[in-house]
């Protein structure tokens, strides 16, 4: 009577879609551009897969075909992570300065 873990993951996926729906609708329109950049940054969490792939190389041959793709994916995802979060922070910082000026 064990339940397949896939079904749990699927449940999590469905509920996360609901959460996403609500959480994104509640984003104020003036922050839609930072929203685009931050979603970009978080979607790079795919780096976890890249790390697993990269570390799977054997100790004699660190750069076999699958780990090379892992390393490449790490570079790409890292550009996104740093770039995405930093550019978002830069934008949000600008919004922050406002209140004082009023």
């Amino acid at each position: 009577m064990e339940i397949d873990p896939f079904i749990f993951r699927f449940s999590i996926f469905i509920l996360a879609i609901f959460v996403g729906y609500y959480v994104v609708w509640s984003v104020t329109p003036s922050l839609h551009t930072p929203l685009m950049s931050v979603t970009n940054a978080i979607s790079s969490v795919i780096i976890v897969g890249a790390i697993i792939a990269a570390l799977a190389g054997s100790s004699e041959n660190i750069f076999e075909i699958s780990s090379i793709f892992g390393f490449l994916a790490i570079v790409l995802a890292a550009v996104n992570i740093f770039g995405g979060f930093l550019v978002t922070q830069r934008m949000l910082q600008m919004y922050k300065k406002k209140k004082k000026n009023k």
Partner: protein, 465 residues
């Protein structure tokens, strides 16, 4: 090395932190904290992955090196990029996520043991399907985003590239991806895998080339949504909660933003995606021009009008972004405010070229966000306002959207600038905007056209006040 249970909990925590990151964006005050939550979530996810694999070999050092190389490039881009280039930046970043998804899928295919998915040539069926979907969607995201990037950057012409039977070709290629996945699953043969990826790259290109450059924002947002679903697909393969939650968040977010944009333009999502709009459609309208009389003025006239107003509403549009006029504009407003004139900004949901585009530019120029109003909140105020200062905006003010059911923008909500006592239009010519529709406001009694580059004109006005 930590247990599977513990790492599952940490991945959940990082998923929750990503939710909180988006939740923070519900107001500018909480948004920076939200971004920190996002960063924290990412750090947790990466750390836990290291601890779970637990194999601290020389590879680990290389992982760090590559992480830092990528990070340095990303940080460099983030600090250098001008705010006006945000649409391209987002498109470019999407392409990277897409390609990363493809690479992870390839690694998983070549070395399934590392991911507990079986053995080369004998990968679990469910995992194979999940990784194929992830790879295909990732590849489409990659090549589509590259095209979007090239069009937005102006490297590739913005006009739609169409050929007969295009939709049928796309459909056939789309079907062939599924067929290839089917054969891949039944034979586990590598050639099907590579062909599927190649064809996915191809269809990404073919899907985006027929779409006009100006429709790219909707495309970017759609590709954002795709990259989310790709991440979720890989998340199922890797059995990783953080990726599944994130994929769903990003998927929803892109879909909702596309919807908001389409609604703001009153166009159907499909008419955008099927393409062919916004390239040279405007030509047909040209003949109408110059027939009607137009009142035009110079910086002095404009300064006079503004100085004598008691209230002004600024309506920024795409032209302000192109001219980078936001700082000059801010200066002008400061001067007006010193003369005790009430000034506010009206931002249309699709002003500029991406959602929230004008808000970022105004924020960059230090405009307080509580002076910037959305359409619904300010539209009734135009009637009690002396001057509407329309700078580089066009379609979002066009009253034809309210009056002419034949017009392509009919039904799109617009800013009622014509209700102001007088309207100043800063643009370089009488040519139409993105939608290619002539704007009858130019020919009205209470309109004064200020033909010039937005930045130049604003600076001149400041000198004259």
């Amino acid at each position: 090395m930590i247990s599977a249970n513990l790492s599952a909990i940490f991945y959940l925590v990082s998923g929750i932190l990503f939710i909180l990151a988006l939740r923070g964006l519900s107001s500018p005050e909480t948004s920076r904290q939200g971004n920190l939550f996002g960063i924290l979530g990412m750090i947790i996810a990466i750390t836990v992955t290291f601890l779970t694999v637990g194999n601290f070999s020389t590879s680990t050092i290389y992982v760090f090196i590559f992480l830092l190389v990528g990070g340095a490039i990303g940080a460099f881009i983030a600090f250098k990029i001008p705010m006006t280039a945000m649409p391209e930046l987002v498109a470019g970043f999407h392409s990277l996520v897409g390609l990363a998804a493809v690479f992870v899928a390839i690694s998983a295919f070549k070395n399934p043991e590392a991911f507990n998915l079986g053995f080369p040539g004998d990968i679990k069926l469910a995992s194979l399907i999940e990784m194929s979907i992830g790879a295909a969607v990732g590849a489409i995201t990659f090549s589509g985003s590259i095209i979007a990037f090239l069009k937005l950057r102006g490297i590739m012409s913005g006009s739609p590239i169409t050929f007969p039977g295009q939709h049928i070709v796309n459909l056939l290629i789309g079907i062939s991806i599924f067929v290839l996945i089917y054969f891949l699953c039944s034979s586990q043969s590598e050639s099907f895998f590579w062909s599927m990826i190649a064809i996915s790259f191809l269809i990404g290109v073919l899907l985006i080339i027929p779409i006009g450059g100006a429709d790219m924002p909707v495309v970017i947002s759609m590709l954002n949504s795709y990259s989310g679903w790709a991440a979720a697909g890989i998340g199922f393969t890797l059995e990783n909660t953080a990726l599944i939650i994130t994929g769903a968040l990003v998927g929803s977010s892109g879909a909702i933003l596309s919807y908001i944009m389409c609604k703001g333009m009153n166009r159907s999502f499909f008419s955008v995606i099927l393409g062919g709009f916004g390239g040279d459609a405007s030509v047909s309208n040209d003949k109408k021009k110059d027939q009607k009389p137009v009142k035009s003025g110079n910086a002095e006239d404009a300064a006079f009008l503004l100085k004598n107003a008691s209230s002004v509403i600024i309506v920024p549009g795409y032209g302000m972004a192109v001219a980078q006029a936001q700082h000059a504009l801010r200066e002008m407003v400061d001067t007006l405010k010193k003369n005790d004139i009430k000034v506010s900004y009206a931002v249309h949901p699709v002003a500029g070229r991406m959602p929230g585009h004008m808000n970022v530019l105004l924020a960059e120029a230090n405009v307080p966000y509580d002076e910037v109003f959305e359409l619904d909140d300010i539209n009734n105020d135009f009637a009690n306002t002396d001057v509407a200062f329309v700078i580089g905006a066009n379609d979002v003010t066009n009253p034809v959207a309210k009056t002419d059911p034949q017009s392509p923008i009919f039904g799109m909500p617009v800013l009622d600038v014509e209700k102001c006592k007088s309207v100043l239009f800063v643009k370089r010519s009488l040519s139409p905007g993105y939608a290619g529709v002539d704007n009858e406001l130019f020919y009205r009694e209470n309109t004064m056209m200020l033909f010039a580059d937005a930045k130049k004109m604003t600076e001149d006005i400041v000198k004259n006040i």
